[in-house]
């Protein structure tokens, strides 16, 4: 018996000895991502997880830059008429699709016309002011029926990517774009392989020959892979795993704003939250610093309204509007007729640890002023149906992704918006929002969005908590990481130092 066991052990060790860490060539990189893309068809895909990868495969007329501005992509230059009703885009010469064919104005017209058809594409809403798309020589002309200051930003989104018409039916699994990388293989639940597109119009990019996107759902497992060198980069590490990588001499951590607005959402239409004083009391009772320390390990910036500081000049700092003041909160509650506080339910979305921890801390802080919350952690599908679609909730914690244009972000609080699940309702807000879309003067437009953010704070619409940091962790020799105020993963400038 003893001999058999010993033999087994030796056999096992010999088998294991096959050593696992394989040296990778210098021009390739392995990136850990948590989920599979939903679909690579620009008109089908909704998931942020897809658009962040698609950013490397497809391009639109214009694209987002790391500073939040819009830079030329398939259009080498563009002009907007003063009345804001006519956009002309000059197409870049000699751009090729991954299938080898050259880009024509007809491709642009075809893709954008399909995109704005609400019978075919769920995202058509953002392009509804387009009246016609035509071409003159190498120039694509877009005419609007009313000024739409958010249009240029909308054209940077994955939905507005240009693809060759003949590839229409294969795009969901075999994308064909003009971007710096070509998707060469996709094994669901396992990995995606991107390879350098040799005919990319920008000869400087990409720096790498091959990028493997390894799908690893568990953050703990992703960290293990990074520590053993099986993975070179985790673009979005959850803050709770920070301590496992901090201080590791082989790794570096780059933290930058995520442009995500995390909030304790309040159902403004439901009693007792329909009382401004109650909402203000909740705002005074919340200690943002404590949440940032407790839920995000200190990695986040406090916010005072529904816009992230990453939005540059659009952003209005309102963090001081409700200084943490539990005494004032109690006083306001008493004025509203709740001297002993009240009880309510707080729904937290199960798949988001950051929102769950923040919610638990909020509950604790609110209990201190007499508002007792019954915490219910619910599955994402249930959250979307119950809280988001049916608006059947009192309080919840959630985050909204950043977009390039403030209208897209703040439009959510228009009283008639179907995305307005907090039931915010304010006449001045509705009017200003429409004005902001038609305003073509940048300075006047900026003033409008500052005012809109202020209204959201004044009316204590929700408790705006923080913009959490995006923690990108990578091997020390990886360079070229770029952070964006929108949800993209820019692989083209990445390289590995020798």
């Amino acid at each position: 018996m003893r001999r058999t066991l010993a033999f087994g052990l030796i056999l096992a060790i010999v088998l294991m000895g096959g050593c696992t860490s394989k040296a990778r060539p210098n021009d390739s990189l392995v990136v850990a991502i948590p989920t599979d893309p939903d679909s690579f068809h620009p008109h089908q895909s909704i998931a942020a997880a897809t658009s962040e990868i698609a950013f490397n495969i497809y391009e639109g007329l214009v694209k987002a830059a790391p500073d939040g501005s819009m830079i030329p992509a398939l259009a080498s230059e563009w002009k907007i008429e003063e009345d804001g009703l006519l956009y002309s885009f000059v197409l870049r010469e000699g751009v090729k699709f991954h299938n080898g064919r050259e880009l024509t104005p007809e491709d642009v017209i075809y893709c954008l016309n399909r995109l704005r058809d609400p019978e075919v594409v769920a995202k058509a809403r953002d392009y509804s002011h387009i009246k016609s798309i035509t071409s003159e020589g190498n120039t694509v002309i877009i005419r609007l029926d009313q000024p739409d200051a958010a249009l240029l930003a909308a054209l940077t989104e994955f939905g507005a990517a240009i693809y060759p018409k003949e590839a229409e039916d294969q795009l969901s699994t075999k994308p064909v774009g003009t971007g710096p990388f070509v998707l060469t293989s996709w094994q669901p639940n396992s990995k995606l392989v991107l390879e350098r597109f040799a005919d990319y119009w920008n000869k400087e990019l990409p720096k790498l020959n091959q990028v493997t996107l390894q799908i690893i759902p568990e953050a703990a497992t992703a960290v293990s892979n990074l520590l053993t060198g099986h993975v070179d980069l985790i673009p979005r590490l959850e803050a709770e795993y920070l301590q496992q990588v901090e201080g590791n001499a082989k790794l570096k951590i780059i933290d930058s704003p995520m442009a995500l607005v995390q909030l304790l959402a309040i159902n403004n239409a439901r009693a007792p939250f329909d009382d401004l004083r109650v909402r203000q009391a909740i705002n005074y009772a919340i200690n943002r610093e404590q949440i940032i320390q407790g839920a995000a390990w200190g990695k986040g910036q406090p916010i005072g309204s529904n816009l992230s500081p990453a939005m540059g000049t659009w952003y209005q700092d309102l963090t001081g509007y409700y200084e943490y003041d539990p005494a004032k909160a109690k006083q306001l509650l008493a004025q509203a007729g709740y001297p002993d506080g009240f009880s309510a339910t707080l729904y937290l979305p199960a798949p988001y640890p950051l929102h769950r921890s923040a919610g638990e801390i909020c509950a604790d802080q609110l209990a201190a002023v007499g508002i007792n919350l019954d915490i219910q952690v619910i599955e994402w599908a249930t959250w979307l149906e119950k809280v988001y679609s049916n608006r059947d909730f009192e309080l919840t914690v959630i985050g909204f992704d950043g977009r390039l244009d403030p209208h897209t972000v703040l439009g959510r609080y228009q009283s008639t918006s179907s995305r307005n699940f907090a039931n915010f309702n304010d006449q001045e807000y509705d009017q200003l929002l429409m004005q902001g879309l038609r305003e073509t003067n940048p300075e006047a437009r900026k003033a409008i969005y500052h005012r809109l953010q202020t209204i959201l704070a004044e009316k204590a619409s929700n408790v705006y908590i923080m913009d959490p940091s995006q923690l990108a962790v990578m091997q020390k020799n990886v360079t070229g990481w770029q952070n964006y105020p929108v949800y993209v993963l820019d692989l083209a400038p990445l390289q590995r130092a020798k």
Partner: protein, 312 residues
């Protein structure tokens, strides 16, 4: 006749399982279209996506359509998890991970179970005590915790094995085999504990039988008595329990494949349920049910070989 009956029972079970899954998915909350659109959804977009996915049809109509497809050998396309892939493609891609994982785990569990169970049954005192104690511990280990612990030690500290993932068998067979080692240990240990106990009690039962006393009194060496006489006769009950373990183990792959990021059937099923990908859940459950029924069939057909008194 026996096999015909078996086959009929299998088909009925499969039918019931698929029907139950289909309707269960309609009872749990969560609209696939809402999941696709997330926090950017509006009613028009929801309606459009529902129509595109065929979800605007009544449940019964959808079920009949699915059954029709099945009869033609078409399981449909996934709708929320990597859209555009056919369910058959995804399920078939997952089998080369899950089948070897399950079979090897049960093999390892059986090996450990027989070795340790025999020790526990035949030795007295210390050794037997240690074996029983170990089996108690491994029985109560949560799979995900054990998995993370193994990764920590064998992958991070020692660097002997990959921490997760699995390359395709066709491109890197050695890598694929190596990446299954830790998942197999994770899956096999609790099963081995159960089998150790089964082997022990089965052996203790048979050792009391008359023919064992006869064998001993003939002067046969103890090893021959235990391995050739006692164990041989204990095999029937061991194989019954092994069959049950294999089925439980298939359910256990859901957790283990998630922890080790293995692209197997369990993980596919989990992704599909979380994303409410109805056709994919249907297809994956169908495949899982088929695997379990085949495993049952395999173990049923073993009985006559193990015990000549059993006839079919």
């Amino acid at each position: 006749m026996y096999w015909l009956k078996k086959l009929a029972a299998m088909l009925v079970t499969l039918g019931l399982v698929t029907m139950a899954t289909f309707f269960a998915l309609y009872l749990i909350p969560g609209d696939p279209a809402a999941l696709i659109l997330g926090t950017e959804a509006d009613p028009e977009a929801l309606q459009l996506v529902r129509a595109q996915l065929g979800l605007d049809q009544p449940t019964a109509v959808q079920f009949v359509a699915w059954l029709r497809g099945l009869l033609r050998g078409d399981l449909g396309n996934s709708i929320t998890f990597s859209r555009g892939y056919s369910v058959a493609q995804l399920v078939l891609g997952a089998l080369p991970v899950t089948i070897p994982l399950a079979l090897l785990s049960v093999g390892v569990a059986l090996l450990i179970g027989v070795l340790f169970g025999t020790v526990a049954a035949t030795e007295r005192g210390g050794k037997s005590f240690i074996v029983q104690y170990l089996s108690q511990i491994s029985l109560s280990l949560p799979a995900f915790w054990l998995g993370i612990l193994l990764i920590q030690f064998f992958a991070i500290r020692r660097g002997w094995l990959p921490p997760s993932g699995m390359p395709a068998w066709s491109t890197d067979p050695q890598g694929a085999a190596l990446s299954l080692v830790l998942p197999i240990i994770t899956l096999a240990l609790p099963r081995a504990a159960v089998l150790t106990r089964t082997v022990r009690s089965a052996l203790l039962d048979t050792i009391r039988e008359d023919y064992i006393r006869t064998a001993r009194s003939k002067g046969l060496p103890e090893k021959v008595v235990v391995y050739q006489h006692a164990l041989r006769n204990a095999l029937v009950s061991i194989s019954t329990v092994t069959g049950i373990q294999l089925i439980q183990l298939l359910a256990g792959t859901i957790v283990v494949e998630q922890v080790f990021s293995l692209p197997g059937l369990g993980r596919l099923m989990l992704s599909a349920v979380l994303l409410r990908d109805l056709p994919l859940v249907q297809g994956a459950v169908f495949a899982g049910a088929l695997l379990i029924l085949l495993a049952n069939l395999l173990f049923d057909s073993l009985y006559p070989l193990l015990d000549p008194r059993v006839h079919v």
